[in-house]
Symmetry: C2
Subunit: 211 residues, 2 copies
Amino acid sequence: MTGPKTGPLGLRAPKGKRQYAVGVARSQQILETARELFGLHGYRGASMRDIATKVGLSLPGLLHYFPSKEALLEAVLQERDDVDVPWFEETWLEIGSFRQAVRELVRRNMSAPGVLRLFVTLSAEATDPSHPAHTYFQERYRDSREIFARTLALAQERGEISAHAQGTVLIAVMDGLQIQWLLDSDFDMLGELDRYLETITVPTRKGKRSR
Amino acid sequence: MTGPKTGPLGLRAPKGKRQYAVGVARSQQILETARELFGLHGYRGASMRDIATKVGLSLPGLLHYFPSKEALLEAVLQERDDVDVPWFEETWLEIGSFRQAVRELVRRNMSAPGVLRLFVTLSAEATDPSHPAHTYFQERYRDSREIFARTLALAQERGEISAHAQGTVLIAVMDGLQIQWLLDSDFDMLGELDRYLETITVPTRKGKRSR
């Protein structure tokens, strides 16, 4: 929920102070609309003109905030990452269980299937080196691997998670189960995730493990 | 490497016997070209006209073999599945190790990154219920879950795999690691996969496990 930033794709920061407050509110509105339309029609299917119309701006007006569709996309993606990482850490501290916090993160993702679909589709499209979000996703996954490695190391120190747990694999399990769930809402994503988490969780107190 | 079939999207089977042999060879050539162009430009980016030109057919000529782009897509996807399942079973029997056979399957996928990218992108796009391949991928994942469940049950009977291994999660791990590898060819997909497989493998003879 932070304001706009300058990213590798060249998102323009608003100028001046009063303009800044107005700019932040308007940027936020644009981001929400972009997230909605990208989620509904895909990145390639939603046009800057549609987004401008929906927020009551002209196309040049929209371009004042986000100089290109790529910059807008990057801001939409970045915003979610900016929110999700601290949210996960806070939830983990609050609940006191890594396993439950991961479940809550996935449950939270499930409440916005449009955004989830946007991420799944974009990360797949972006495997094409000529896609505008290629570098973004490449760096995002590198960052995610670092973050997950640090998080798992911490969970291991706290005696919650087994030494054999792999951050790369936890990311893959979450990504892969999401595809199965988005294709088939009857698929029990949370149940399957939880059974996997059980295999990497160190049993505590009344904890019962299946092996 | 079987001939064309009638699928839910209405792939037309060639008529007559002599025509059949010619048709099969030509169908095969069309499938190879479609796989190549879908892999290069994506399903939406490659046109039926491009595919027709590349195989030396007119557009109506191509439509004689595959009545629509959806039918051609379905045939490309189906062909891979028709080949992969028996290939995996034979490889497993030959090597005598489930873990090694899964590694070999992934190694084989890595030799054709264009096809892999096609699958990753299409399965993501197809999470949209209005996508022409939505039902195909929905059914494909349901089938895959059944096949993996049966395969893991067999591997458990043979004493190769622990009882806690989940077919849904193995599919997810393979899908998810593929995205990370397609985005970043330095990512050690095989190494990460193998470390995961180790955690679900029952140690035999000199087998050493990390937990």
